[in-house]
């Protein structure tokens, strides 16, 4: 017994050494990923964090939410350049643009070009000149993910659903770069697809964030112009005001097609063909792991595309609008109710 005590003691000592050593060795190697989000840590953020945790790779994800306030971006740039996280994850066109700018500009208020960046949810990374092509971003420290279908697909979806469709409505916010780009893109696209685009500025003359109160007014205006379908996308502002936006559309008998699946699942948009943000977050985590764990150079990695898209249709809204999806649609669509 007396012999066993020193034995036990030494065992405990060894165990405590192991316990003390392991976290400290991890702590030494643990990487920091700074995620900059436009409005809170939602599905994409969750998908990203889960995938990193599941990989077993020692990395902490630090979330920074700018809460739709683009003004915060310059401070964040400064912070990044100072603290030098191991990788920066950006969400949305505005955030990405604010942090890394376009291919051409080399302004000093962007983050340092030797900090790896993975961008996500940039509606059109090539049109905005954030990246060069799907093959490579064109910048040594930047790669990203892509999660959209071409806008022509969104318009064709409506045509499949409603063969009589000929007029597409759009409410845009010219203060939001993305929204303005989208308006231009649709203006160019509509005639090639044989449809008429009815685009209304949400709150003309207002330099700041538009007044949400204008949404129902504009919706009624669209209705008067004979619009039965509107497109809702590329606007964080509108997404934020999704509840009001979609409900006033339904009240006006207008169906919404949107790349934001959550607006169909949780709000009152009718139809979406999109990848799940959770899945996009997981894709972004894959890119991050390739860089941090496998030692890949971000600029050598292709922009990965989301693969799992789904038709999601809100059947409650379909019934309210009396626009039951075509039979063939129902064989593939994910039907949801509020």
């Amino acid at each position: 017994m007396g012999d066993s005590v020193p034995g036990l003691r030494s065992l405990l000592l060894f165990a405590s050494m192991v316990i003390a050593f392991v976290p400290s060795s991890f702590a030494e190697d643990r990487r920091t990923i700074l995620g900059i989000f436009y409005e809170g840590c939602e599905h994409l953020c969750e998908g990203f964090k889960t995938a990193i945790a599941d990989s077993g790779f020692p990395a902490s994800v630090v979330v920074r939410d700018i809460n739709q306030d683009k003004a915060q971006l310059s401070a964040i740039v400064a912070e990044i350049n100072e603290t030098r996280p191991d990788l920066v994850l950006t969400f949305g066109t505005s955030v990405t643009m604010g942090l890394i700018g376009t291919l051409e500009d080399s302004r000093p208020d962007r983050i340092s070009s030797n900090i790896p960046v993975v961008f996500t949810v940039v509606a059109d990374p090539f049109g905005t000149n954030i990246a060069e092509s799907f093959e490579a971003s064109g910048r040594k420290n930047v790669t990203g993910t892509f999660n959209r279908v071409p806008e022509s697909v969104n318009i064709e979806v409506i045509r499949q659903y409603d063969p009589a469709f000929s007029k597409l409505g759009l409410l845009y916010n010219s203060n939001e770069r993305n929204s303005a780009i989208k308006k231009k893109e649709l203006e160019a696209l509509a005639p090639t697809l044989g449809i008429e685009l009815v685009a209304l500025e949400l709150d003309p003359g207002n330099e700041g964030a538009p007044d949400p109160g204008t949404i129902p007014e504009r919706m009624a205006e669209l209705r008067k112009k004979g619009v039965e379908w509107i497109y809702l996308g590329s606007s964080s502002y509108l997404r934020k005001n999704g509840d009001l936006y979609t409900s006033s559309a339904v009240e006006n008998g207008i169906a919404i097609v949107s790349p934001y699946e959550s607006l169909v699942r949780e709000k009152q948009a009718l139809l979406s063909i999109a990848a799940r943000y959770y899945d996009v977050g997981q894709l972004a985590a894959g890119q991050a792991l390739k860089i941090l764990r496998d030692g890949a150079t971000p600029g050598d990695l292709p922009i990965v595309r989301a693969t799992d898209f789904a038709y999601v249709v809100n059947m409650d809204v379909a019934r309210k609008l009396d626009r039951i999806p075509p039979f063939a649609f129902l064989q593939i669509a994910e039907a949801v109710t509020n």
């Binding site: 279908v149 064709e156 799992d308 789904a310 999806p325 075509p326």
Partner: protein, 923 residues
């Protein structure tokens, strides 16, 4: 004699049962596998329909999030489904029922997808039947495909069941028919046996009786002739022995005067009479045994496939109910299923047996297709019979109504009947050839040899001996006659040796010459019969045609080393090379035959043919296929034409028409067998293996020819006669030759090459006929050919002039094509095929016969090699040019115009031939 005949019959009936049984099982398996694929195609089709909205947007199928759930629906529809995969156009599996998902589909599946003409296709592995459905975008581009596999257990079980039934039925039929044949033969051969036994009695006495009874029948007449020859032969022998035994070497007066010339043709008739007596029984035994087994097969195959047909209809019900239920579960109201009628309407276009589909709740909620009159529909498919309930929250809220089109089902069974009929027909044709060979070898040939030997010795010619054969009495007589030949030679040699120089050489030589022994000891008697090459020719023709049905597809599937070449041109090149090879090799056939003889030629051309088929088996590129197939063309031309020359040479000018007619029967019988079986064999054995089978059959036919053909047969003394290309046009100076070539040979060649091989299939396809229907319609042409071939010969033998027969055949063929111009429907074209087949069969032998008459008469200077070579080359050249011209007309003005051109060509040709031949040729 009775035992040997019966044994031959029994073997042939056995061959019929085994061959028909095996072919029937293969055919059953092909039908069953096709039905199984068609059934699971309903599932792959519905999965594809689910993907369609996504694909129509231009999105890849891989982007569909719930794709795995979509393929998993296959299992809900049929729990026995093996694996369902969705893969993109490069073969990468994007959705699967299997976990983990396989990375890619097999190269064979991908190949099938890319080669398929339509969207539905299929294949088989060792263990599974796979049904594939290509997903096309709105612009028609294939972007992905769905495969559904099904374990082969059902097929294997059905196949074994059919096999067992066939084995038992075949064995019983074999026993029964063999027993009946025994009694029939006993009755039939009673006369001949008595007659020949009578000869035997004579033989045993070593002295043929002078007073053999003379009956009234042909057989008795021939036996008495043989008897007379035997008596005379004995007398000659006795006289020879006597004179050789005496010191005086002057010929005994007896045999000098009695040398009566014996027409060798006439002496063949005893065997002919016997064969004629046996032929109806043989034909009856073959046809009856094949028909009985065929009917049993038909019944069993129908029983075997019936559940499959019902299962497919049932599956359609499951799919409809499943789709509707999904829409309702998604929240769509039953009475507002937008576009469901179009959806099911599209589905029905791919399900020809389903005439009508509806969803009813007591009233019809939605429907697609045309309702079948309930009085016409089979009772269990009567309308409004609830087949598949549609449930919502556990309650039945509606049900599916399906009307199966009884006409379609009837057609399906009719197709089975026709498929089986073709198999029965092929079996009968082959069995008949085996029978002819066995009867000839075991019975008639030895009788014939005895007759000839007796005739020779009766005329004092002791130059031949003969192998006795197996038939006791005949063998005894033959041995006796052979021994006499040897004995005469021995004695003559003794005389020569003992005479020394005392006798003038001239006198001795004269004696030897008189006995036909001037060149040494008596040699075995060798006679060439057409029957010797029939089976070999049949097998050879069948082997050559076997790959025909799938060769274009096989070429398309192989690697193309010339990417600049259009695919449609590429796949026609093996045929073009083959035809060109025939064109260039044809003129040499007769010359080569005369130089080397058919036996050597068959082997010499057979070996490269075997090599070519093995080459095709291993071929990986289209260019290799073109090369090897061209090589087979050379072999085909040389062997078939050398066989025809052999026939011409063994025939006399009297029976030439008849023998040429039979030659057409045998050659086209083989062609028909090859064409008819190629498809089903490729389906069951695999396309590549069919080449090996062809090589094997060619090997067998080469062996048969080596074994059966008399060495040197066909070779001719006048070897100086050579064909040269410059001489092709020379015979055209003769107006009758020109009339035969331009008025009959080329138009009929154009009918075969342009109408049958090209236009008919395309036109029928245009009229909506299925591949199987087209195949059967073409079979009708070949049936016409083989039926008419021997009839033409008979007509000529009966004294009808050959010229008018050929002209009329040509006219009738042309006129039958005009029918289609008047009524552009399937039956008119099918009639055209049948009539022109008969016309072709009649004209084919006739034209050769007419030309041979010219070669023996007016064109004697040119010689038969040049004249026949000229006919063959010009005919083929004309056919190929005609094919090109007809294809050009079809391209510019459509199929009807092209058919009109062929008809006009034939009619004008026939009119031209009529004016020249009938006016001037004393036929």
């Amino acid at each position: 004699m009775l035992f040997r005949s019966w044994l031959a019959f029994t073997i042939v009936i056995g061959v019929v049962q085994v061959l028909l049984g095996l072919l029937a099982v293969l055919q059953h398996d092909a039908i069953y596998s096709q039905l199984l694929r068609q059934r699971i195609a309903v599932i792959s089709q519905t999965i594809v329909a689910s993907y369609k909205p996504i694909v129509d947007l231009g999105l890849p199928v891989s982007m569909i999030r719930n794709g795995d759930q979509v393929v998993l629906r296959a299992r809900d529809m049929d729990a026995e489904i093996g694996v369902a995969n969705t893969f993109n156009s490069s073969g990468i599996v994007v959705h699967s029922t299997q976990t983990p998902r396989p990375p890619s589909v097999s190269s064979e599946v991908l190949r099938r997808m890319h080669l398929a003409d339509g969207t539905t296709w299929g294949t088989e592995t060792e263990t599974e039947v796979i049904s594939g459905h290509t997903i096309q975008r709105a612009d028609g581009e294939a972007v992905a495909a769905v495969t559904v596999s099904y374990p082969k257990d059902r097929l294997s079980a059905a196949s074994s069941a059919i096999f067992r039934k066939m084995a038992i039925a075949g064995f019983l039929i074999w026993l029964a028919i063999s027993a009946v044949a025994y009694f029939l033969l006993r009755i039939l051969l009673a006369g001949p046996r008595r007659a020949i036994d009578g000869l035997g009695a004579i033989g045993k006495r070593s002295e043929p009786a002078e007073d053999a009874p003379l009956g009234k029948g042909a057989l008795e007449l021939e036996v008495s002739r043989l008897n007379a020859n035997l008596v005379e032969a004995s007398r000659q022998y006795d006289a020879v022995i006597k004179s050789l035994g005496s010191d005086d070497l002057a010929l005994a007066p007896g045999f000098e005067t009695s040398r009566a010339p014996q027409s060798p043709e006439r002496t063949r008739s005893l065997a002919g009479v016997l064969a004629l007596k046996l032929a109806p029984v043989a034909a009856a035994a073959i046809v009856v045994s094949a028909t009985i087994l065929g009917l049993l097969v038909l019944r069993d195959v129908n029983r075997s496939i019936e559940p499959e047909l019902a299962a497919r209809a049932n599956l359609v019900g499951v799919v409809v109910s499943d789709n509707v239920q999904r829409a309702i579960e998604a929240g769509a109201p039953l009475d507002n299923l937008v576009g469901a009628e179009n959806y099911f309407g599209d589905m029905l276009t791919q399900l020809p047996e389903v005439a009508y589909v509806a969803v009813a709740t007591g009233r019809i909620v939605l429907e697609a297709g045309e309702r079948i009159d309930p009085y016409l529909a089979p009772p269990r498919q009567r309308k409004d019979v609830r087949s598949h309930p549609i449930l919502y929250e556990g309650e039945e809220i509606a049900y599916v109504v399906i009307d199966i089109d009884p006409a379609f089902i009837a057609k399906r069974f009719r197709d089975v009947f026709l498929d089986m009929s073709v198999v029965v027909l092929v079996t009968i044709l082959l069995a008949y050839e085996v029978m002819v060979l066995l009867t000839s070898r075991s019975l008639t040939a030895s009788l014939d040899r005895l007759q000839r030997l007796a005739a020779l010795q009766a005329s004092g010619d002791f130059s031949k001996t003969a192998t006795p054969g197996h038939q006791a009495v005949i063998a005894g007589l033959m041995r006796q006659l052979s021994e006499r030949s040897t004995d005469v030679y021995r004695r003559l040699e003794q005389v020569v040796a003992s005479a020394g120089d005392s006798v003038a050489d001239a006198s001795l030589e004269g004696l030897k010459r008189h006995f036909g022994l001037e060149n040494g000891p008596p040699a075995p008697l060798r006679i060439s019969y057409f029957t010797d090459i029939r089976l070999a020719l049949f097998l050879f023709a069948a082997a050559d045609e076997l790959p025909l049905a799938f060769l274009p597809l096989y070429t398309r599937a192989s690697e193309n080393l010339w990417p600049w070449l259009d695919e449609s041109v590429l796949i026609s090149l093996p045929l073009a090379g083959y035809l060109l090879a025939i064109l260039f090799a044809s003129p040499f056939a007769r010359g080569l035959n005369q130089r080397f003889g058919l036996r050597t030629l068959f082997l010499a051309a057979g070996l490269p043919m075997i090599a070519a088929h093995i080459g095709l088996y291993f071929a990986e590129t289209a260019q290799e296929i073109i090369f090897w197939r061209t090589l087979t063309g050379i072999g085909y031309a040389i062997i078939t034409l050398a066989c025809q020359d052999y026939v011409i040479d063994t025939a006399t000018s009297e029976n030439r028409d008849s023998v040429l007619g039979t030659f057409t029967l045998v050659l086209f019988g083989g062609v028909l067998a090859g064409v008819a079986l190629g498809g089903v064999l490729a389906d069951r054995l695999g396309q590549q293996n069919v080449f090996l089978l062809s090589a094997l059959l060619i090997g067998v036919s080469a062996l048969l020819s080596t074994w059966l053909i008399v060495p040197g047969a066909g070779a001719s003394e006048h070897k100086g006669e050579r064909f040269n290309f410059a001489g092709i046009l020379a015979p055209l100076g003769n107006p009758r030759f020109a009339a035969i070539v331009f008025g009959i040979a080329i138009p009929m060649g154009v009918i075969l090459q342009a109408f049958v091989s090209y236009l008919a299939a395309l036109t029928l396809d245009d009229l909506g006929a299925s591949t199987a229907d087209i195949g059967r319609a073409l079979t009708l042409f070949f049936l016409g050919v083989i039926a008419a071939g021997p009839i033409g010969g008979r007509l000529a033998a009966a004294g009808l002039p050959v010229g008018p027969v050929a002209v009329l055949a040509c006219l009738a063929s042309g006129a039958s094509l005009v029918l289609f111009g008047l009524w552009p429907v399937s039956w008119a074209l099918v009639t055209g095929l049948a009539v022109s087949g008969i016309g072709y069969g009649l004209a084919r032998g006739a034209q050769v016969s007419l030309v041979m008459k010219l070669a023996e008469g007016e064109l004697k200077e040119a010689g038969s090699v040049a004249v026949l070579g000229s006919l063959r080359t010009l005919e083929r050249l004309g056919s190929v040019m005609g094919l090109v011209a007809v294809a050009a007309i079809a391209g510019a003005f459509g199929y009807v115009a092209a058919l009109g051109a062929v008809a006009a060509w034939t009619l004008v040709g026939a009119a031209f031939a009529a004016t020249v031949l009938l006016k001037r040729l004393p036929v």
